[in-house]
Subunit: 381 residues, 2 copies
């Protein structure tokens, strides 16, 4: 298997309502990433989008975006793994280059959630025969996890609040973040309205529009495209029992454990080697449980990393370094590509005020549904 | 890039209405294919399904099918390319094994179209901003192509009828085909009702339920799993201008040309080397245009291959050897996997009464939308 590197990145600002269409978002960011890599063609385009079936009435998005970007003829396929969809498209682009079937592959994530009511469509990440008829939604399931966690480990009510505070603090230094002008305190979090008890407004990532893309090439030729290539050290996917209720310990997130473990083995690294961790903080509780399942904290101790500000860019294990899903925004199919772009910026010393000192290895992990599918990537210069 | 082989196949009977759920269809066929390969685990599962968003209200199908099959933990992702979705899942499984990231990968196609009205959901393969508001549907677009073709080349009204006759004749010897008991004549085709002028009932593949799966392994170890492995000689994807109206010559199907050409180069073969061609005969006109764009016939001459019965198992270029999309059935996400299973049966001398003599190379080609995406695979023992 030949090593693969990121040789071009692009992100558009995350917005509540983008002024252009979904296809245009995808095409623009694809062309921007190609320009950054200095190429006018790629061999394959893998598109990540979760909601266009419902919100745009559009399937077949990969060929459509490829054409819109002026690349008609190119290989173009769409990949999905519910809320981990963006990461799945990165994995496919990685496989295409690693296999030798593509010399240059693009992973493009695009989502325009403003086009309709996204919440019911998002719930289709759950079991439509068993969970949805019972009234389950993604936010409801995360609320259940949060309550269980707080009770199991006697976590104070405001124990998870610092996840949002950290994300919003970091977003203020990211000009592309949705909430780039919003400073919040722990008190703001605890005073925000209850969305689905015990989840409050600031425990949730926002509904928004956005797109991001990366260009991958074989590591051995990466410097032909950029002076600052970033290697992909590991790429892995794992699943869990699909329904949370079928799991022995719903707080343990086995797919996170398996996917992280596979990635650590592939990269020949362990937890101490990770400079920062771009977690899937769609809900604060999910980021907290990821910190534990990856092994950055013992079970029941993840919230303390936040409470003690060890998740800040200067802490032991920085997360959401450019705002995270919480404050940069979570346009589903694009989120992992934003995280990958941000990871590249961190590893190449371009993260500005949020720069993690001596950042050498970045880890990005995306969660599909309630961690039924988990995708992990690790990067290094 | 390491060579990849098919080491296990499985198909369930195509039915108008399957008695089991979509997830069960997928899980059953996955377990059957694993049993055929003699394995109790795989490293990755790639699921092809086009319509579960609308018809089952279910996203996140790959993890769900993996769990249902008893494989929770495994890598599982979903791939889409509209009506070429099944072939896209095969391509992903191929990349996973070719790259070295998986030793055993499954491609699973499953579709349960009986659960609702499939036609509007199928139309989302077209441009939802421009074509769908104009009233376009897949069948309407194919009807336009058929009329254009007949006028351009002075094709007699019944010029394409033999495509359906051949498919139905072959399906009678395939116990898994939807229309295994239906014998039709050219006259039956021409007397069947007009669905979308000039397309008649027998020019269209049926709405149905089905599932098929294949297991892939590195060629160098393939014989550990089966005495009859089948090598994948080529795997390729190409796109065209997304909308038919943007193409210089809508009858030329450029994505078919590019995808086939890439596959011929990868396999180091040409048209004369192909023993049989599993075309995407969702509509007779599409199979006809594929024969021309791949280079089996000159432009305007594809229909003659059918009319002269050169597409029968004993002809120059057999197509739909086990019934094709037309008469075996076209459960969208599963179709290319059925075709792959049938190709394996042909190449290993297990195709029964429809056995193509001296079959050495099989070609399978799937069409997404109106040939906006085309996926080609070639196989040999």
């Amino acid at each position: 298997m030949r090593p693969v590197s990121v040789v071009g990145i692009a992100q558009v600002p995350v917005e509540k309502t983008a002024s252009v269409s979904l296809r245009k978002l995808g095409a623009v960011v694809l062309n921007m990433a190609m320009e950054e890599a200095g190429v006018d063609r790629v061999d394959a385009v893998f598109v990540g989008n979760m909601l266009s079936d419902e919100l745009q009435g559009q399937k077949h998005l990969a060929a459509l975006i490829a054409d819109e970007a002026g690349l008609a003829g190119v290989e173009a396929l769409e990949v999905q793994a519910a809320t981990a969809t963006g990461a799945a498209s990165l994995r496919m682009a990685y496989l295409a280059v690693a296999s030798g079937q593509a010399e240059l592959a693009a992973a493009v994530g695009a989502e325009k959630m403003s086009a309709g009511v996204a919440t019911p469509a998002l719930s289709k990440a759950l079991d439509a025969e068993i969970e949805i008829p019972q009234g389950a939604t993604l936010i409801g399931k995360n609320a259940g996890l949060m309550r269980l966690y707080q009770e199991e480990y006697n976590v104070p009510n405001d124990g998870l609040a610092e996840f949002a505070v950290n994300a919003h603090r970091n977003a203020r230094n990211n000009p592309l973040a949705l909430f780039r002008d919003k400073k919040i305190s722990k008190r703001d979090v605890m005073r925000s309205r209850v969305i689905h008890d015990p989840i409050r407004l600031y425990d949730c990532s926002p509904i928004c529009d956005g797109a991001a893309a990366v260009i991958l090439a074989p590591t051995e030729v990466a410097r032909a495209f950029t002076s600052q290539p970033v290697r992909i050290l590991a790429s892995s996917v794992a699943t869990d029992r699909f329904r949370m209720d079928d799991r022995k310990n719903p707080l343990a997130l086995e797919a996170v454990q398996i996917s992280a473990q596979k990635a650590f083995v592939q990269a020949n690294l362990n937890q101490e080697d990770i400079s920062f961790f771009e977690a899937h903080d769609a809900f604060s509780i999910m980021a907290c449980l990821q910190l534990e399942a990856v092994g950055f904290a013992a079970p029941g101790e993840g919230w303390r990393l936040a409470a003690e500000r060890e998740i800040s860019p200067k802490g032991k294990i920085p997360i959401a370094t450019m705002g995270g899903l919480k404050a940069r925004g979570h346009p589903i199919g694009a989120s992992a590509l934003y995280q990958t772009c941000e990871t590249v910026l961190q590893l190449t010393g371009r993260a500005g005020k949020n720069q993690v000192k001596k950042a050498s290895v970045g880890m990005v992990q995306s969660v599909g549904g309630v961690a039924s599918t988990v995708v992990t990537h690790m990067f290094s210069v």
